[in-house]
């Protein structure tokens, strides 16, 4: 194998599994250490720069970071990364003085942002302090998009949304609520320097089976029903409710129904329980509130009596796999099952819809009616129009909307500075040794077995009575400290200098995970098989360095390294060092200008 180039910004970034998995690349271990040090405001600001909505995301994020967490590979449960983010938001001081100020001088450029969800808000946050005049249009009266209209208040109180949207609007961003954009052509004609489309995926899929029209009064589209609750138009539902669908929307629907009078709420999904789109913790939360989930049932027809819904009939199916491993649902042959109910909530998917974008103005769409968008730059085929969030590639989540927003802001900034938007400067990297003394390291490197701590919940009886009562109470400071201690500090990297190594094997002998091997070089596949512990996780890199006196190479499998620093502590010559890797992402403004200082 060739020598690993640790100066490439991606190499050590990948080792920080959570940060790498986070679409916005939040420096997770860095903020977790700050929480352990009770420096909540500092932890909050790190998050704020990366993901813009720490208080919101700390309650609602889809957390792609957690399944990636190294702790899962060495123990069982990941660090509660998401709920620790909330701790930073809950216990911080007033941080307003630390936020950027509205631009003292505007640069004369005007940006229109369609939709006031997280994607547009991120673009505005990145651009407004640079002097851009950002105008957000939303058909709804308040900013936040689906964060405000869809996510139930018992998961995310309005106060948190107000606070974090407020930080952005206070940067001199103009929000025009209640103003729907009906024609892109007309908007472009207004002479904006750039237009960002962050209008989300606003249409809930319907279920066209017999009985749908006859019983329409008691069959509701999930996302419309949830926004009606949020706007205060709906405050009750029947006693018996069937929720169709297995995604996040279905989980929010069933739990909302439990709070609005639904006593017998059933979730019914077509496929298997394990294949449901909802996250495991969402399913757990629903079941904890007494909501059973039934699987392998395909809705056949709604039953009704004189225009009144009486229930839903399902066909029982089973999964069958063909020779290529593809799954098909086939009737199991058992009798149909009927669920009597008073209301049905249809939560079987969301769709994009762009009726307001004319098809002859240079914005190309594909055969599925989706705009053609470059995933790196978020550019459409129209030079001035950019997309992001759910509008770009279909429904995703808040953190992806934020990540898109950052990229779109860079593109807009580059476009309006006359630069090539395809030239994306790499992030900057800083490496700092953590050695403080012979046995002193500036991070807690005592790794202990410790199971994940549970977030305290509001009493179920109380919680189910009030749809606005937040269910999760958040970690208290003690629990937060304990949970923070589970983080393995994957950003504190093992850095090897061959010229210092005397090949004494001390690091090999002490490493608790058998990560390190000194051996003859070979090609990767073969080398992986003959290390002290075979390196079978191909998604994790091998760190290879030559230049040793015996002509062997040092090979370290990054896979299950605990970042305990014992190798560095035992090395007599300092050939191993523990160095903190800090990644400075590229954002709109100075850091995205061309020919910037090179990484590392």
């Amino acid at each position: 194998m060739k020598n690993t180039d640790i100066a490439a910004p991606d190499y050590f970034h990948k080792v920080i599994d959570c940060q790498w998995a986070c679409p916005a690349h939040t420096p997770v271990p860095e903020y977790i250490r700050l929480i352990a040090a009770r420096r909540y405001s500092d932890a909050y600001m790190i998050n704020w720069w990366s993901n813009v909505f720490p208080g919101i995301l700390g309650r609602t994020c889809d957390r792609p970071c957690e399944p990636a967490c190294r702790r899962m590979r060495v123990e069982t449960e990941p660090v509660a990364i998401c709920r620790l983010k909330r701790v930073a938001a809950d216990y911080k001081d007033d941080i307003r003085a630390r936020l950027p100020k509205p631009a003292a001088r505007k640069n004369g450029r005007r940006i229109a942002l369609v939709g006031g969800g997280p994607a547009s808000l991120t673009v505005a946050r990145d651009l407004a302090p640079l002097g851009y005049h950002c105008v957000i249009f939303d058909q709804d009266p308040q900013a936040g998009g689906m964060i405000r209209t869809q996510i139930p208040k018992f998961r995310l109180p309005d106060s948190v949304i107000d606070e974090e949207c407020g930080y952005i609007l206070d940067l001199g961003v103009e929000f025009r609520g209640g103003q729907r954009i009906d024609s892109m052509k007309a908007l472009l004609a207004e002479g904006w320097d750039a237009v960002f489309v962050g209008c989300g995926a606003p249409r809930g899929r319907d279920l066209d089976i017999p009985g749908r029209r006859e019983a329409a009064a008691h069959i509701h589209i999930g996302i419309d029903w949830l926004s009606s609750i949020s706007f205060g138009h709906v405050n009750a539902i029947g006693r018996r409710v069937v929720v169709l669908g297995g995604g996040n929307t279905a989980m929010d629907c069933c739990r909302s129904a439990r709070r609005l009078g639904g006593e017998e709420v059933h979730v019914v999904v077509r496929s298997g329980f394990d294949e449901m789109k909802a996250s495991p913790w969402e399913k757990e939360d629903a079941m904890h509130e007494g909501i059973p989930i039934h699987n392998y049932l395909v809705p056949k027809h709604f039953t009704h009596d004189n225009g009144r819904l009486t229930g839903v009939t399902f066909e029982k199916v089973k999964a069958e796999y063909d020779s290529r491993g593809r799954r098909r649902l086939v009737p199991s042959g058992e009798p149909d099952q009927h669920f009597p109910c008073d209301d049905v909530l249809v939560a079987i998917g969301q769709e994009n819809a762009f009726p307001w974008i004319e098809r002859d103005i240079g914005i190309e769409f594909d055969q599925w009616g989706m705009p053609k968008v470059d995933p790196r730059t978020m550019a459409s085929t129209h030079p001035k129009v950019f997309f992001g969030g759910d509008a770009a590639f279909g429904p995703k989540n808040i953190i992806w909307a934020v990540a898109h927003g950052h990229e779109a802001a860079i593109s807009i900034d580059k476009l309006l500075n006359g630069e090539d938007i395809n030239d994306r400067p790499a992030p900057a990297v800083e490496m700092i040794s953590q050695k403080m003394g012979i046995h002193e390291w500036s991070y807690k490197n005592e790794v202990v077995l410790d199971q994940r701590y549970k977030v305290p919940l509001r009493d179920k009886v109380v919680a189910l009575k009030d749809i606005k009562a937040e269910v999760e109470l958040g970690f208290d400071e003690t629990l937060a400290f304990q949970e923070a201690g589970r983080c393995l500090n994957c950003d504190v990297q093992t850095v090897f200098t061959s010229s210092l190594c005397i090949e004494c094997d001390a690091c090999v002998d002490i490493c608790p995970m058998d990560c390190i091997t000194f051996t003859q070089n070979g090609d990767e596949a073969e080398l992986r098989g003959r290390l002290n512990a075979p390196a079978t996780n191909l998604s994790q890199d091998l760190y290879v360095q030559d230049g040793l006196k015996t002509g062997r190479v040092m090979v370290k499998d990054e896979d299950v390294c605990l970042h305990c620093g014992l190798c560095a502590e035992r090395c007599p010559t300092g050939a191993w060092d523990m160095q903190k890797f800090l990644l400075e992402m590229t954002y709109a403004g100075n850091s995205c200008r061309p020919q910037r200082r090179s990484a590392a």
Partner: protein, 351 residues
């Protein structure tokens, strides 16, 4: 020296041996030796050997004297018996323990100071008696624990860290062990586990006095230019006579060797040593030739390593003394007080 405890975590795919243990189960307390000390690597090699042989830790007795090397039994086999004796006295404690309980595996761990200086007499007698044991000297040429004075194995002309030249002749423990009748004699290097681990395994399987001299650089006091026990010097002057594969009784011989390149040596317990010859004319069964070979190479400044001698039909002290088969703690009253008639017979034989 490390203040951190080694985390209990281990690699999720660590292999297990026949007893269901991983190599981590053969560890002891975390080492307090200097970072990089060769002794720690020998500890790791012993751990690996015991793991691979699937030895039950409670069947091992680790016995040592005084010195950094003699501290190492604490860092291995946490569930074994151990006795840290006085300086240079490991051999007599081991001999006594072995006579009392012949069923245990005896690991004598010593240093060059412990065995070649203060304990030279004990070293000699223990080997000549053929005590069934693995006697390992962790040889760094200095008294590490007392801050680096030359020991009796330091080569004449080698330089101390502070610049003194050693004017005394050195003791070659391997040569002495051959002369004293040890039935298994080897030399290896702490920086070469591929050589060391199979040698330790073979020595454990050997019945009789097995002696291994392991050159083990002292990073604190004897790893400088001018030392003949430094990593660099040993790597440059290492002359391996053979490479060993240890094949236990449980394992079928799977490895296929080119004819003529390998000699298979069968031990009393049925285990086999596959010796890949590096020095073509070296005969591991010829004690006197081995002595000559060692001296010729030593004169050239070369350090001969590998399995240097093994006696095919070795016998141990118990066989020489015709002791009872059972360990003393397993003898019951009937064995110990065989009655009046037996006593009379004994008395009669002495008249």
């Amino acid at each position: 020296m490390t203040y951190l405890a080694k985390p209990k975590f281990h690699h999720p795919a660590l292999p297990k041996n026949a007893l269901g243990y991983t190599h981590r189960d053969y560890e002891g307390a975390v080492s307090t030796l200097c970072a990089g000390c060769g002794h720690d690597s020998i500890t790791a090699a012993i751990i690996q050997a015991c793991f691979e042989l699937a030895i039950e830790p409670h069947r091992v007795a680790k016995i040592s004297g005084i010195g950094c090397s003699s501290k190492t039994p604490t860092y291995m086999l946490g569930n074994s018996h151990g006795f840290n004796s006085v300086h240079g006295r490991m051999p007599s404690i081991l001999t006594g323990a072995n006579l009392a309980n012949r069923d245990l595996i005896y690991l004598g761990i010593s240093g060059d100071g412990d065995s070649a200086s203060i304990g030279l007499g004990q070293f000699a007698h223990c080997l000549r008696r053929g005590v069934n044991m693995v006697y390992i000297v962790e040889n760094n040429g200095v008294y590490g624990l007392t801050k680096g004075q030359f020991s009796a194995t330091a080569d004449r002309g080698s330089k101390s860290k502070r610049g003194f030249i050693n004017t005394d002749n050195s003791i070659d423990l391997v040569a002495m062990a051959l002369q004293l009748g040890a039935s298994f004699v080897a030399r290896s290097f702490s920086g070469d586990k591929q050589q060391l681990v199979p040698i330790i395994k073979a020595a454990i399987a050997h019945r009789g006095a097995a002696f291994i001299d392991v050159i083990s650089p002292c990073v604190a006091f004897n790893n400088h230019v001018g030392s003949t026990k430094s990593f660099d010097f040993v790597r440059e002057h290492n002359e391996a006579v053979n490479r060993l594969d240890f094949i236990s009784t449980r394992m079928p011989i799977e490895i296929s060797y080119e004819p003529g390149t390998v000699e298979i040596v069968e031990q009393h317990d049925g285990s086999k040593l596959a010796l890949r010859k590096l020095a073509a004319d070296y005969d591991v069964h010829d004690r006197t030739a081995a002595l000559g070979f060692l001296q010729q190479h030593a004169a050239k400044g070369q350090i001969v390593t590998g399995l240097l001698y093994v006696e095919k039909d070795a016998k141990d002290l118990h066989a020489h003394l015709r002791t009872v088969d059972k360990p003393l703690n397993a003898l019951d009253e009937k064995d110990l007080c065989p009655g009046e008639k037996a006593l009379e017979a004994i008395n009669a034989s002495l008249r």
